[in-house]
Symmetry: D2
Subunit: 174 residues, 4 copies
């Protein structure tokens, strides 16, 4: 149930491969960095200007797994989610805020790239609804087991067995 509407619709390209991790109970969580851009003519100079906006996307559940399997750097994607700002502490203990587009069971992710546009593991037009996350997103996200490199398709158990990625242990979660 909701009082109000909180909806985000994006179409853009991934700046990098999805970062897929797993919660202790085996739920996938994928973080995407998505670019949208607009261009216009400068009013004074008449010169074309381009501005790119980078969006932080968080997928939960099945849609996160699909993202890990089929999305790649540069892939064009449709995202429907909701805005959510989470609070975290930096190294100085100061409060910081990060706004993300969360795609859960009520959201949607859809691949728009054709199968011939550069990504080895791309498959066209796949789509899925997201599962409800078992729990809210953690501030530091450190409890998620990172899918290491090419093994993102492994089942969660295997992920847990796979070692913890130390680079994950930084203070700033983005």
């Amino acid at each position: 149930m909701a009082r109000g509407v909180n909806k985000v619709i994006l179409i853009g390209n991934l700046g990098d491969a999805p970062d897929v991790r797993y919660t202790p109970n085996g739920n996938a969580v994928a973080n995407l960095s998505l670019a949208t851009s607009e261009s216009w003519k400068d009013k004074n100079t008449g010169q074309p200007v381009e501005r790119t906006e980078w969006h932080r996307i968080v997928l939960f559940g099945k849609v996160a797994e699909i993202a890990g399997q089929y999305l790649h750097k540069g892939a064009k994607v449709y995202i429907e989610g909701k805005l959510q700002t989470r609070k975290w502490q930096d190294q100085q203990g100061q409060d910081r805020y990060t706004t993300e587009v969360v795609v859960d069971i009520n959201g949607q992710m859809q691949m728009l790239s054709g199968q011939n546009d550069g990504g080895a593991q791309s498959r066209a037009d796949q789509q899925a609804s997201a599962y409800q996350p078992q729990a809210g997103r953690s501030d530091g996200a450190k409890q998620y087991q990172q899918a290491s490199g090419s093994s993102q398709k492994q089942p969660p158990a295997a992920q847990v067995a796979g070692g913890f990625d130390d680079s994950f242990d930084d203070d700033i979660p983005f």
Copy 2:
């Protein structure tokens, strides 16, 4: 022109009266704080839980003026805009980022509150398209002349003549 889609749709209630300021060349800029909330039953306890999300909205041009004139604390509003993250420096000189929903000429603002729901200056269902902002939003926003108290309807010139609100001079722009 755009490559990609960047769209946000919100319906919520204002946490406070709009904060309307003016650029040196007389363009209105309004900042709104908008709440959307969702509730669900906790899976373990079965207890109802509610989470409120606060959104930072920035209106430009005519729609900003209308917001200043007709919106009030608690007003229910429909917002259609785009996501934009701006960078600013805190007192320690560290980079900080704030994500806002920007309503410009391509966006929309619409009042949903009836005339009988508490706001002295509310008028129902007013709507307008936003003018294109003359320039991008500033990081610290300090160049905007703040509309002091009840004088928000004054023309920009009067605003410039009106004194500068010192409380505006803090380091954190939200």
Copy 3:
């Protein structure tokens, strides 16, 4: 799953009370007539012009029951659904097509009218997700048991017991 996106977002006022009926297995189906309007200045005469668009909305499941209980003529409503065109035959046996906005489990309905705006049974800000319909919408819709008059809140069994509305037996389903 879907290939493509099919989404409609409307905010408007009901032209009449919802028409709620029940399928043989007890699922509620509500039909709404929703008006949205836009106004502009005629380019030649400079006179203000207004155009009202009427939308046919079909709600399934729980959201249909809520509509029957709390919505009333004139109520302001937010609708999120999908476009669907269904085929039916007129009295001459000719194919006809009607396009509707269908609100199912993936859609949303939200009341925007305050409690003081005229509807006896209105309650503010109620919202719900729709249940998946048991089956697709019928062309002629004749198998739905009509909720007669004020008894729309009765359980389906009572509806079935209540007499059949003969005016429902016409050839044109809208």
Copy 4:
């Protein structure tokens, strides 16, 4: 200005090449047939089922010209427009209604197909805002000069000079 919100968002594939015509005063009008589809498992048989929905899209102005130039059968497209139902008379003089998604100055069209996906004249990711139509859409649309075959890029004058397509003169406008 508007009281209410009337918005449609679609991503789908064209069932045929765009049909581009010109008004007497030279404004382009393009009609598209766009398919979206969804699939699910039948509850009883467990068999996968697919349903395709066909949408009638009408583009006005510059976006109509771009559609004529760059879109082709099968192209994947993002559409943002509004619902509009127009009335017309069939050969028996009976009223008929057709619902379309109208993309005008407030809407958007964006090509999502890559340049390698089969269309001779496709160019990727072009986008444009639509011009406001000079006048409302006609019921029968017969006053539009049809762009004959490969000459869709010709200027309106040439179109007017080019012969009238007789097949256009039927009674049913879709």
